[in-house]
Every structure is written in structure tokens, then in C-alpha cells.
């Protein structure tokens, strides 16, 4: 399942949903939570705004999740990404994979977040004390 939303999400609720759907089949759940950091490239970050490409974003996330499910045997998977204005320590992204085997869950979760970072149309703009700037790829 994938979701793109302005509202916050609760990793605990999402993991519990994955677990209750699981009914004893999976032995392993791996999750990644991405948070807004208060520093980037040595500068204090006071706010961050996430822009995206509505429509293409959902397609890109669905494709990433589908590829993960083709490559690894997952019993469940999930990608949630927030958009809009965020402040330091806010949740940005949540990726989770459940599998019978832990190695598969780790590989799938890491693949989904790595691929999301390079393939999904999101852009971060930071507010610093001296103004705003678009985040450069690979710096955050």
C-alpha cells in the first residue's frame, strides 16, 4: 500500500496494522522512518517544505512497492510519504516490509527507501535563518 499525505502518520499504528494483517505468517517486519533533521550542510534548518508531482508520485511509489514484491517474498509492504510544510524531527517518510525471513524484509525495506530517494518526484526546500534553499541531492 502507498500513501501521499500532508497529515502526520504514526509508525506504531502502521506497524500494528501490518502485524494484525499478518496472522502468524511473517516472522520479520523491518521499518524505516525518515525524519526532518535540524541541520543540513552545517546550517540550521527551521522548516522544510516537501513539493511533489501529484499523480506521478503515486505511480512512482506503486512501481517501487511492486518491484520490491517481485524481488522478495513479502507478506506485506507499505510506503507513506508526507508533503507540505514540516518542522525538524517531524516524520517525512515511512517504509515497511514484512516477510517470513528477516534478510528479505531488510533488503526490501532498504531497496524501497533507496529507490524512492532517487526515483520518486519529491523535492525538499529548506528554510534557514537567512532564507530558503532547495536541497541538493545526496546532501541530506
Amino acid at each position: 500500500m502507498i500513501r501521499v499525505q500532508t497529515e502526520d502518520f504514526d509508525p506504531g499504528v502502521e506497524l500494528e496494522r501490518l502485524r494484525s494483517r499478518n496472522k502468524g505468517q511473517a516472522g520479520a517486519m523491518v521499518s524505516f522512518t525518515g525524519l526532518v533533521r535540524d541541520m543540513n550542510e552545517g546550517d540550521t534548518v527551521t522548516q522544510m517544505t516537501l513539493e511533489h508531482y501529484p499523480g506521478m508520485t503515486e505511480k512512482a511509489l506503486e512501481k517501487i512497492e511492486q518491484e520490491a514484491n517481485e524481488r522478495w517474498e513479502l507478506t506485506a509492504s507499505l510506503i507513506i510519504h508526507r508533503v507540505g510544510p514540516l518542522t525538524p524531527n517531524d516524520n517525512i517518510v515511512f517504509v515497511a516490509a514484512a516477510s517470513r525471513h528477516r534478510k528479505q524484509a531488510f533488503l526490501a525495506c532498504e531497496f524501497m527507501i533507496d529507490t524512492l530517494k532517487t526515483n520518486a518526484p519529491f523535492w525538499k526546500k529548506e528554510s534557514l535563518p537567512g532564507g530558503t534553499r532547495w536541497v541538493e541531492p545526496g546532501t541530506d
Partner: protein
């Protein structure tokens, strides 16, 4: 008609997020369409000259020589930074 979209720093540089135009006569591919837009003025010429830009047609990333057809949605954007 084709739908053109610009995102993030590109949207800010061009001062526009999206527009609908008639597919210009004689334009059949991405290089042609990009040159046609660059002819608008120096800002467009410089902004679209950035070799790091990505282009999606109908919401799928395409290669630089992709074909453009009437009805397409064409989007330009800088490298993505989500996650």
C-alpha cells in the same frame, strides 16, 4: 494541446508551474520542444539548458530523445530529493 509542467527550483526560475499549449508545428520530440521553449527568452534558454534536469512524459521518466505527441503531459524537474 499538450500540458507542460515545471517543478521545484525550475518552477521558481521560470515563474510558472504549468501551462497548456498547442503542440507547435514541426515539433515531434523532446529536443525540439525544449528548443522551442528556450526560444522564449534568456531565462527559459538558461533554465532548460541544465543538463541535470529530468523530463517525464505522461508521468514516466523519458530519455532525452523521446517523442512528443498531441495530448501528452510533459514535465521538467530537477533531481529529486524526497525520502
Amino acid at each position: 494541446m499538450i500540458q507542460l509542467r515545471y517543478f521545484a527550483s525550475l518552477r521558481e526560475s521560470l515563474g510558472i508551474g504549468d501551462e497548456q499549449i498547442d503542440l507547435p508545428d514541426g515539433i515531434h520530440d523532446l529536443p525540439g520542444l525544449t528548443r522551442w521553449l528556450q526560444d522564449r527568452n534568456e531565462t527559459w534558454a538558461n533554465t532548460l539548458a541544465d543538463s541535470r534536469l529530468h523530463v517525464a512524459i505522461n508521468q514516466e521518466i523519458v530519455k532525452p530523445d523521446a517523442t512528443v505527441t498531441d495530448g501528452d503531459e510533459v514535465a521538467w524537474f530537477p533531481p529529486v530529493t524526497g525520502g
